[in-house]
Each structure stands twice: as C-alpha cells, then as structure tokens.
C-alpha cells in the first residue's frame, strides 16, 4: 500500500501528470503574454501541449555520429529526475516525501536535467551541440553559486536559531511565523532567486545555451520526434518547479489545507512569479553573451544572495 501510494505520488500528484499539466499551462501563458507584450496575437494557450503531442508522432532520427543509447536515454533521465523533483517540492502544507525533501537534494536533482541535456547533446556528435553544452555548463556554474547561497540563507532564516536543510521544516517555520518574504532580510535573496529562475530554465536573456538564431538550439540540434518532445516537456516542467520552489521558499506558510485547492492556487502563484521574472524579462531583453552572463551572476546576483545570508546570520 505504501509503495502504491508512492507510485501514485510520482505518477499523478504532485508527480508526472500534475506537473506536466501545470508546466505546459505555464509555458502557454508565457508565450501568450509575451506575444501580447510585443503586440502579436500569439499562439493559443494550449499550443505547448499541441506541440508536445505533435512531436510524439514524428519520426525519431538518430544521427550517424551519435552514441545511440546515451542519445536516446538522456531525455528520459532528465524527465524522470524532474518529476522526482516535482514530487519533493511541497505544495504549501502538503509534502509527499517530507523526510527526503531537502534543499541539497533539490539542488542536486535540479542539476540532472541540465546534465541530461548536456549528455544528450554531447552524444549527438554535432559541433553545434558541442558549443551548446559548453555554454549550458558555464551557465549552470554561473547560476549555481547564487542559488546555493539563497538556499543556505533560507535554511538559516527558517532554522529557528539553528539551521535546516529540510523543505518541510522551512514550510513549517513559515506557517508559524509568516512567509519569509515578509522578513526584510530575505528581500535580496528573493530578488536573487527571481534572477536565477530565468537562467535555470534557459529563457530569453539567458538562453545562451540554446540560442536558436546562433547555434540552432545548441544541444538539441540533432533531436527530433519523441526525444525532443520529452525535452520540451522537461523545460515546461522546469518552469513549474522553479516557480513552485520560489513560492515554497519565500511565499509558503498559508494555503487552505485542502490539497486540490492548494494545488490550483500554487499554479496561479507560479504564473504570477513567472510573469514577473520570465515573461517580462524575456519580452524586453536581448540575449547576453556567455561571459557577460557569467559575470552578472557571480558579481551581482551572488552578491545579492550573500547580503541576505550575512543578514540572516547577523540579525536572525
């Protein structure tokens, strides 16, 4: 029964089905809103879902230079790890695997989808993918430093005197003391986190790794058919996970207690966060160069997060 429950968590809620629907919906909203901002009509709300099913039906081609098994396994590994991450992120008070849900786990699980893209790209043997994975890796090193500091800062602020790595403890602390966003010491960290999200999901000013106009989607250049569909789904789920993680870290602590209602509210909250840090930025900015991106994250965003960390240690 326990195993069955866990399988249910992984496959339905808050796992595969729920996070796919939420992710694709968010991606649709994002595209629509950005289009409206740029005075275009934009695709229908469900366009990402249509794209996903369309790609599933297309032929899968493995290029001659590719390492076949790695090339095909990479998208699946990326998707599975994202689904697992989605299960670990609490939906307000509800947490499927409370004991395991830990910021260190989330941090490492979140690297796996990026690694999957990198491995898949590397296995495809294309030089465009070579450039793409190089940039993906540099981007990852760029945003990982501020992300780590943000997580540690939150871990301290929600530690109630000590420190905690556990997401459910962080949520409990916010239930008792109000959302962390209401603490002024956490504002720089929240801002840093908002800036980490677009880099993590690779949206426009920070999409050096995909850069369609430059290196033809980088690591994904050789992908087609179902594997590409899985990668597209993964990036949609990532959109959900990152925004949900933000809400868990900074906006948690309320909610109705009814899981179904909470889930809906969470998607709405995610959409708002996404509009602020992804859509708006995407609509108005041009793509950065990779070395500028790296400098920006280590010099500006990391410093923002570090301010919060130091404040958390000094004040809290």
């Amino acid at each position: 029964m326990d195993i069955l429950m866990k399988a249910l968590y992984l496959l339905i809620f808050p796992g595969l089905l729920y996070c796919s629907v939420a992710g694709l919906l968010l991606a649709g909203i994002d595209r629509k809103v950005v289009a409206r901002m740029q005075k275009r009509i934009g695709p229908p709300l469900l366009q990402p879902a249509y794209d996903f099913f369309k790609l599933l039906g297309k032929e899968t081609i493995v290029p001659a230079a590719a390492a076949r098994r790695t090339f095909l396994a990479a998208p699946v590994i990326g998707l599975v790890s994202l689904v697992v991450t989605a299960v670990l992120v609490p939906v307000f008070g509800f947490s499927a695997f409370g004991g395991v849900a830990d910021v260190v786990v989330i941090l490492y699980l979140l690297t796996i989808p990026a690694v999957a893209i990198i491995m898949g790209g590397a296995a495809s043997g294309s030089p465009y993918a070579g450039v793409g994975i190089s940039r993906e890796m540099v981007t990852m090193m760029a945003y990982e430093l501020p992300l780590v500091i943000v997580l540690l800062a939150v871990g301290k602020a929600a530690g109630d005197g000590g420190v905690t790595f556990s997401l459910s403890k962080i949520v409990e602390y916010q239930q008792a003391n109000g959302p962390l966003i209401t603490h002024w010491t956490m504002w720089p960290a929240a801002l840093a986190m908002l800036l980490v999200i677009p880099a993590e999901i690779g949206s426009h000013p920070f999409d050096v790794a995909e850069a369609e106009t430059e290196i033809c989607e980088g690591a994904l250049v050789e992908y087609s058919g179902a594997p590409l569909a899985l990668f597209k789904l993964s990036s949609a789920i990532k959109l959900y996970i990152m925004t949900a993680l933000f809400s868990c870290l900074f906006l948690s602590g309320w909610g109705t207690g009814i899981v179904a209602v909470d889930a809906l509210i969470l998607v709405a909250v995610c959409a708002v966060i996404m509009l602020i840090c992804v859509s708006l930025v995407r609509a108005v900015c041009a793509r950065l160069k990779v070395e500028i991106l790296f400098r920006f994250y280590w010099r500006v965003v990391a410093v923002l997060a570090a301010i919060s960390l130091i404040l958390a240690w000094l004040v809290g």
Binding site: D2, A73, V105, I133, S134, R135, V138, S166
Partner: protein
C-alpha cells in the same frame, strides 16, 4: 587465531613481494599466481576481522614477538586494529585486489613486470602496515616503504615523457614529509619516552600540551599532510598520478593518500586529542577547503585525462579533510564515508582512463573524441564514475557530500560570530566545488567519449574483459554505497567514528585495563551518532526512485528499437544525407570543439585566477619544495601562536 590476522595480512604482501622477485622473473603464470594469492589472502583476512571489530566492537592488540609492556612502558612493536584501522585496512586491501586484477592485462605489454609486481606489493604492504600499526616509529618506517615504492612505480614507464621527472619531484617533496614525520616522532619520544600510540595518547592527555608537544604535533601534521597531498603539497600528486600507470594511479588515489588521511585522523583525534581546540579545527577546515577549491579549479584547466583526474583526487581529499576538521561525529562519519566513496569512484575513473590509454594510446583530451561508439562499456562505466564524483543521486558521492554539507552547516549554527560565517562560506565553497567537478567531467565525457570520432581512433577496440571486470565491480559498489547508506553507517562508519572519538578502549587494549583511567582521569564516552537530521537515511524512498529510473531506462531501451538511424550508419549516411550529423556545411574534421576550449566563458572570466594557477604550478621542483617548506613554517608558526 584472530589476533594474528593483522600481522599475517601485512606479511602476506611483503612475502608476496619477495617471492615475486625470486620466482616470478621468468614465468608469467607464477607471477600472477603469487600476486593474486597475496592480494586475495590479505583481503580475506581483513574481511574476517569485520565480525570481531565492526560488529562485536572489539579491538585487536598484538605485540610482535610477544613483547608486552614491562614496568608500565611499551617496549615492543605493537599492532593495534580498531574500527578506524580496519575501515582503512579494508579500503586498502580492496583497492589492491582490484588493481591487481586490472594490472594483469594492463601491464601485459610492458617489460620488467616482476619488478612492477614486487613494488606493487611493497606499496600495498607499506600502506596496510601503516594503517594497522600501533607504533609511531613503525608508522614512519611504513611511510618510507610506501613512499619509495610509490616513487619507483611513478617512474615505472620511464620511457614515457615526464615520468622520471615526476618521480623525482615526488621523491623530493615526499622526503620533506617523511623527515617531518621522523622529526615529530623524535620530539614525541623526548617527551613521553615511548613510541606506542596508545601509551603516547594516554601520557600526552595526562600532561597536557607543552611547547615541545605542540611542535611535535605540527611536524607530524605537516608530514601526514604531505602524504595526503593537501594544498600546497599537491603538485607532486598531479604529476605522479598522471605519469604512473593507471592501475598505480588508482592505488595512489585509493589508498596512498588515504594513508595520509588516516595518519591525520589518528594523530589529531587519538594521539594528541587536540580536536577540542578550536584553532586546530579552523586550520584543518581551512586547509581542506583550499585544497578542494584549488584542486577543482586546476582540474577545470587540464587537457590530459589522467592529470585532470589527479586534480580531482586532490579536490575530493579536500572534502574529506574538511569534514574531519569539523570535529563532530557527523563530520567524521561524513569524512570517512567520503574517503571510502572516493576510493571507489576515483579508482573507477582512473581505471577508465587506463582503458582509454590501453585502447587508444593517449589520454590527451584535445585529440580524443567519440570513443563511446567504440568502447560502449567503458563509456557507461565512466558515466557512473562521473555521476558519482559529481554527487548526482543516487550514486555514493551524493550521499557522502550531503552528510558533509549538513555537518558543515550545522557546525556553522553551533559556532558563533566570525566562525559561523567561516563555516557557512565553507559550505558554499563545497557546493560550488561540486558543480565545478560536474563541469570538468562534462568536459571529459564530451572530449573523450562523445563528440566526433577522429579518424585515427576509428579502429579502437573495447578494453579486454579482465580490465572491465574490476571496473564493473567498482561501478556496482558506487551504486550500492549510494543506495545503502543505512547498513553501511551501522556496520562500518558508525563503529569507525565511535572508535575515533572514544579512545579509552584503544589505550586499554594495549596497555592493560584501567591504564587510560589512571593516566587521563575519567573519560566520558561520546554518544552514538544521530543521523535523523539527514533525509538520506530513508532507503525505501530511494529504492522506489531507483526502480522507477531503471524502469524508464528499460522502456527507452525497448522502445528505441523503432528509432531509425545509425545501426547501418555508414551505408545510410552515404545514401541519405538526413542521417548524417548537422554540420552546417562544414567538413566534420574541422568542426570539433577541443577539450581545452570547452569552457571558454568560464576561463575568460576567471583568466586572472587561472593565470595565477598556471604560474603556481610551474613544474619546477625547487618551487614545490620551497612551498612545502614555507607552508610547513607557516603551519608551525600558526600552531605556536594559537595553540
């Protein structure tokens, strides 16, 4: 019987070494028989000790020649095996066994194989003797045997570029370390008039720290630091690991630097019991953090497979040292766990490098590429090792790094003021180093196993089965050690950490019951470890996860049969261009991204730092010796100022 096993395990190696010289000169099969017999026998003997020591909590003391202490002084040479010694003893014998199996094929093309195996077994005996010894001077002798065997093995392929040079560097800087250990031993002897570790420990605790003992501690600490290759004693390791045969590089990173780590733990926790002193904690954690950061950033800059691995070895030892320096039971357990995992995954990666060298004849990242098509098993094993060292769940590196982060950040919460910020920064550096580790392994996988296959490597064959067997065993161990942290900690890590912290039994076993109490007063035993704060100790959840991932991979393996493509790639490519890789019209030979250029964005931003690093690793042995001496002076000064 059981108390004879430690000395027998050591003697088996030495006896094997001598017999190999005598009998193994002409006959291949005699040589292999002797080496395999010695390594298997020692491993089995160590395994037989698991029950009395790990499970029953016993400690084995053994006086050579039956010379028990007289008139309260230990005059004989003693062996003492507690859980900590056994933990490292198991690592040593396991590494030696796998390396011996791997060597059979890997060394088969070299000449003077009898000398290789003689030195190999001497090295093994030296390290095993070191970790099982209960006598400070005996430890020095074993360090010398270990160092000289290691130096000679570094230069084993003396036709290879730089091997003699790196052996000379190892000799020069390694001797500095050995001399420090000898000098420290003399200082200790002048204070307590005994060389037995247990008795030293009891007497030193009784008399407290004097200037001489502080000096002795500093010297011994530096000596073992050199043997563990912490920064700034590390450049010799980078050279030695690169030029030694891969089977020896594996032994170096699997047990030779662990010998230094073991020496440090034994020294600071048991012999000097100095871990309550905060300034020592800070020094060790600081050295560990610098080691892990410099190690990984140097690795990012390398373009030789084995040299890159060597720098990662240094970096991972930094994690271990950091964790040990925290002086909490969680920290020690994490450090030991990571030491074990490092033996597994780094050994695995060195064996992969050896397989690539064996098959392709080079380890230059700028020349290799696309080998996954020719060596699929090696590539798969490499990915396991790379995932483990980068700390990707569910492999073992993740589990131990998690414990270390947790221990580190808890130390930050327990400390106050500046110290807590220091530990918080250490945690951040640790997490960052992990990402950089991942980055450099992405670089290796892209430039060795994936990417385009250069024409010169078109005929490369998969490594022979005898080389793949140890690799598969280690890969399986990497996964198991990651999935079963619960049993591991209960049966191995917890006893070892407890042995490190509760030294009363260690003293009484050698010196007779009540000796510790008579010299040190009452020692309160340290409580059992508590892992409840760590979510990883929930194996069922992880097992479910693992099963699901395997199921997904299986589905892909079955489902991908339908995918069109490269089964008959060359013919198809000629007929139909759509199966070729998309090169944008460029000829594929010219469009490869070399290993050195892969992280341009990072290298450009950190160019000053990387320039500083290259200047630092000048390759001149005088520089390295100068640093070693300067750092030694600095550490001694620090100890006198703050102890």
């Amino acid at each position: 019987m059981i108390q004879h096993l430690p000395i027998l395990a050591i003697m088996t190696y030495f006896l094997g070494a001598f017999l190999t010289t005598l009998l193994g000169h002409n006959s291949k099969s005699v040589r292999w028989f002797l080496v395999m017999l010695a390594s298997v026998a020692s491993f089995v003997m160590m395994c037989l000790l698991i029950k009395p020591i790990f499970l029953d909590g016993g400690i084995i003391g053994y006086w050579m020649g039956g010379r028990a202490p007289e008139a309260g002084y230990a005059i004989g040479i003693g062996l003492e095996v507690d859980a900590l010694s056994l933990f490292f003893g198991l690592l040593v014998t396991f590494t030696v066994l796998l390396s011996a199996v791997y060597s059979i094929k890997y060394i088969s093309r070299d000449d003077a194989q009898d000398k290789y195996y003689t030195l190999f077994l001497m090295l093994a005996g030296g390290v095993l003797g070191l970790v099982l010894s209960g006598d400070l001077f005996n430890i020095f002798i074993m360090v010398e045997i270990m160092t000289f065997a290691a130096v000679a093995l570094t230069a084993y392929r003396n036709w290879a570029e730089g091997s003699l040079e790196s052996a000379f560097k190892y000799l020069a800087v390694g001797s500095i370390g050995s001399s420090m250990i000898l000098a420290g031993t003399i200082m200790v002897y002048s204070q307590v008039h005994t060389l037995n570790l247990a008795q030293i420990s009891a007497l030193l605790a009784g008399q407290g720290l004097t200037n001489t003992t502080v000096f002795a501690f500093a010297l011994l600490f530096i000596g073992f630091g050199v043997k563990a290759f912490i920064v700034p004693f590390h450049p010799i390791a980078a050279d030695a690991y690169m030029t030694a045969p891969a089977s020896i590089s594996m032994v170096f990173s699997g047990m030779v630097n662990k010998a230094g780590v073991y020496g440090m733990i034994r020294l600071v926790y048991v012999v000097f019991q100095i871990m309550d002193v905060k300034s020592v904690n800070y020094l060790i954690v600081l050295l560990g953090t610098i080691t892990m950061f410099i190690g990984v950033t140097s690795a990012l800059n390398q373009h030789d497979f084995k040299r890159l691995l060597a720098f990662h070895s240094i970096s991972q030892i930094g994690y271990v040292i950091t964790a040990i320096g925290l002086a909490t039971s969680l920290g020690i357990a994490g450090g030991l766990y990571h030491a074990m995992n490092h033996t597994l995954f780094k050994g695995l990666l060195f064996l992969c490098a050896g397989a690539v060298f064996y098959s392709a004849g080079t380890t230059d990242l700028d020349r290799l590429g696309g080998l996954a098509k020719r060596m699929p098993q090696t590539a798969a094993i490499f990915l396991v090792g790379a995932a483990a060292i980068s700390g990707i769940p569910p492999f073992n590196g993740f589990a131990s790094k998690w414990v270390i982060y947790q221990a580190c950040y808890e130390a930050a919460a327990a400390a106050s003021g500046f110290a807590s910020i220091f530990y918080a920064v250490v945690t951040i550096v640790g997490l960052l180093v992990s990402v950089m580790t991942l980055a450099s392994f992405v670089k290796v996988s892209q430039s060795v196993f994936f990417g385009q296959l250069p024409d010169e490597f078109d005929e490369v064959k998969e490594a022979p089965l005898l080389m793949r067997i140890p690799m598969w065993i280690m890969a399986a161990c990497c996964l198991l050690a990651g999935l079963l942290p619960g049993p591991l900690s209960r049966f191995a890590l917890q006893p070892a950490a407890a042995a490190t912290l509760n030294i009363k039994g260690y003293i009484d076993t050698m010196m007779g019951g009540g000796y510790a109490a008579s010299q040190m007063g009452d020692v309160t035993p340290v409580a059992e470890l508590d892992f409840s704060t760590i979510g990883y100790w929930q194996p069922v959840a992880w097992l479910v996860l693992f099963v699901i991932i395997m199921a997904a991979v299986l589905i892909v393996a079955l489902g991908s049969q339908g995918a069109r493509g490269n089964k008959r790639s060359t013919e198809l490519e000629k007929v139909d261009g759509k199966y070729a890789t998309f090169f944008g019209g460029e000829h594929s030979t010219y469009s490869m991204v070399g290993g050195s250029d892969l992280f341009w964005g990072l290298r450009y931003n950190l160019r000053h730092y990387f320039g500083f690093l290259s200047d630092m690793h000048s390759g001149v042995v005088n520089d390295y010796a100068l640093w070693a001496v300067t750092a030694a002076a600095g550490i001694i000064l620090y100890m006198f100022l703050f102890l």
